[in-house]
Symmetry: C3
Subunit: 350 residues, 3 copies
């Protein structure tokens, strides 16, 4: 574990900042957060999932963050609150604040004279900032990043090393883009003309709202004509592909390896499971949850959870079952035929 802890806090100080109530000795101080398993007496852990009850019983943590329903499950000094995991996130951010920008442009960076870099922004080694690009106050452009012509980076935004922002794209405030992210590459616009593909110029932008985070190697393509839009508070994990003219609604969270095809609109506060996909030109309502490994091929107009994944089993069993899938239409017909058979067709004979 890396150690960036700045100081220690008592449970009383913590609850004064973030609310909640202390059960036990409020003068206990902690210096860092930890898991129940690896906690030491100078750290604070959290308990938000019943499956870790054994770990709660045996933890060496100096304090623990719990919900009201389990406050009696341990005698360790504890902070009781409504949402232990969210509370823990705040406590962890207290001990592990995001690094601040180190103002200045590194000598090895290449910044066009027409670019505007805020005085307290940081531009790292070997970064490249092209013509008329803008980097806002307190933002960090990591080593090796590329900011294309006319692109705009908001304030307090961090681009980790080796991020690419193509020309004219707009990134909001307090955004975090992890290494390998590519924003604004051309969408996959090709027109078939007598067996050959003609490129369709991609002249839209990508517009990313505030408080968005994108994981390593995620890609968001620029719009074909209008823009691709990622609204405020959207959280994208690693290796996600967002095609041209997609719009992702505010506060939607998408797990790794998902692909969203062109012009699809995803609602607000959706949760999309890993390696799932959404076909193009669809509308997905707010508060929809898509299971991992599911391909959504039609628009979804009401909230709820949607799934389409083949259950795994031992290969020999899978073989025995899956082979029947190619006869399923026929099997259904045969059952129908049995059902339709007259009950006593040949009774009258003798």
């Amino acid at each position: 574990m890396t150690s960036r802890a700045r100081t220690s806090y008592s449970l009383r100080e913590i609850t004064e900042r973030f609310g909640g109530k202390v059960d036990g000795d409020a003068a206990v101080t902690v210096r860092q957060v930890a898991t129940l398993d690896s906690a030491t007496p100078d750290t604070i852990a959290f308990f938000a999932n019943e499956r870790y009850l054994t770990q709660l019983k045996s933890t060496r943590a100096g304090a623990v963050i719990v919900g009201a329903s389990v406050r009696a499950a341990t005698s360790i000094p504890r902070i009781v609150c409504a949402n232990p995991y969210a509370y823990f996130a705040q406590v962890s951010a207290l001990f592990n604040p995001a690094l601040a920008a180190r103002p200045g442009v590194h000598a090895s960076a290449v910044v066009d004279s027409s670019a505007r870099i805020a005085g307290d922004a940081e531009v790292g080694p070997c970064a490249v900032v092209e013509r008329a690009a803008v980097v806002g106050p307190g933002s960090v452009i990591g080593a090796g990043c590329f900011i294309g012509d006319g692109a705009v980076i908001g304030s307090a935004t961090r681009l980790h090393p080796n991020v690419t922002i193509c020309h004219d794209c707009v990134i909001g405030n307090r955004v975090i883009l992890h290494s390998g992210v590519v924003i604004g590459a051309d969408g996959f616009g090709i027109a078939l003309d007598e067996g050959r593909w003609t490129k369709v110029p991609q002249i839209g932008r990508v517009v990313v709202g505030d408080d968005v985070e994108m994981g390593a190697n995620t890609t968001v393509d620029r719009g074909a004509l209008d823009d691709t839009v990622i609204e405020d508070g959207v959280k994208l994990d690693n290796q996600i592909q967002v095609a041209h003219n997609v719009r992702i609604g505010a506060h939607t969270a998408i797990a790794a390896c998902v692909g969203i095809a062109g012009s699809t609109k995803v609602g607000r506060n959706c949760r999309i499971g890993g390696a799932s996909g959404i076909s193009g030109h669809l509308d997905i309502a707010d508060n929809v949850e898509i299971s991992a490994f599911t391909l959504v091929t039609k628009s979804i107009s009401s909230a709820g959870t949607y799934t389409g994944v083949y259950p795994f089993e031992r290969n020999d069993e899978w073989r025995r079952n899956a082979v029947q899938l190619k006869h399923l239409g026929e099997l259904a017909q045969r059952v129908r035929a049995i059902e339709k058979k007259p009950a006593q067709p040949k009774r009258r004979k003798p």
Copy 2:
């Protein structure tokens, strides 16, 4: 929308260049392309999909590109042609030409003295070109790109920033590689030897033909012994993985997030849907279409569309149905047993 429009053209001038016939006032001039929805009177839109008929009726576009069958559906000045989307692609390229190379090697680029860079080629900031590499006339090596020993880049080819071309690979003419593309990393060649993996050197190359485009973060591995080959006119979307010794036939288009395993040959003019996969050592015929999210596990010898995706539904319904998949072999047997039952097995009793 970014604006790179250079000038305006009348409908007459456009049809003189690209063919087609004007219905209405051929003197109308436009300055840019747009969607039906966001078009303004100085732009030209296109109509190629019946689902957008409402938008056609209400568009503010100054002109529109349509097929013959719908020429009467609007009174806006219009260009009537056989293939409105391909025509539109040409018109858009007229208004939005690809940027030309800015000849010269940037002072921060690192180019080996044995590399040969065409006089009118562009090598961007912090790009690295290694020994004996070649960059052809009019080509652009974007900022932060890496061109390995002996690699050859053709003419009029554009590598967007942060592309990696490994040693000895060959890239054709008029190729476009978007940011994060990696060409010629080692294929996944490992031999099991008493529970441990031994690396098999990957000594083939990647050879990319002319007029190929690859999207952001797509990877094409070098061959193990012989080469991996991407033929002319192939279009690859983002985050595609092409394994060693694959050959992709000319003018095949592949949507994002597809994986093609080693030594598979894909035919010409195929279309492969997003997030699908093709297993290794297979042959896929020309003109094959693979649906999104489909794994192809056997060679395909005839043109057509092939699919293998689990349909999605509400999670509760999926649960009820999917649980039966593990009993499908047994269910088929039970139906067979019912069918085989003698019609009146116990009739003779009384």
Copy 3:
């Protein structure tokens, strides 16, 4: 094919190094390895798969590596050994040794004064090595790589160009990381708080063992609190996503495009097929094989092969069959109803 062959070897010399037995003229010399198909008389090929018997019959290779069971299938001089493919890997490495480091830090690299670079290590052009980072003996940091604060790179390890290692991560000895790899980006830790997501600081590291290889654009996230761990000898193909706090057991091999969700433990000597997935918080036993395109949603406690993939077929047939999946629960009930029907319900009437 690239040519890095250093010299030629006789079959006698090769078997003196690697064992095995020569059938035929042991004085025959070869200069390079090749496939059966493209071999020339100065190269040695291998035969490890019965499907290539035709190629064995017609090969022009000067020599061939075969198993004992097929030694009589050709009259070409041959090395007979227990494991032809692993033997071939060794012979290929003899002819195609990995490039050695070219000691020194390139003038364009940016290395913090507190970083420690071994004297015989290589740091390529435009690479960035941050504070207190360590690069071990004989290791190569390729062009454009980023090594974050406090990261440690072992000895004889090679980072190909444009690899990103985030702060405090640890990479072992003899590791190979291909271009575009990102190690130690933040895991996807977010806590929901009244409809908005709060970031959970990711303060663990990634610890990568010895003899690990990772393919292009693969990502391994740092742990949330404890570390993400890749054990010795693990081989990861391209575009794989390993989430925070995953542990992958020694000598496990994973094909391209796989995603492994958070906190899952994968055993030793597993083989995981391309584009498969493993859900979070699971335990996968040693020696488990997962088929391509399979989502593992439950822990697996015993060795074996596990599969869950929808078989592909012609689209029209798929449509006819797949539509029944949404009625499968009902179909099973109907079969049960038929089975339960009294055999002669109305017999007694007359």
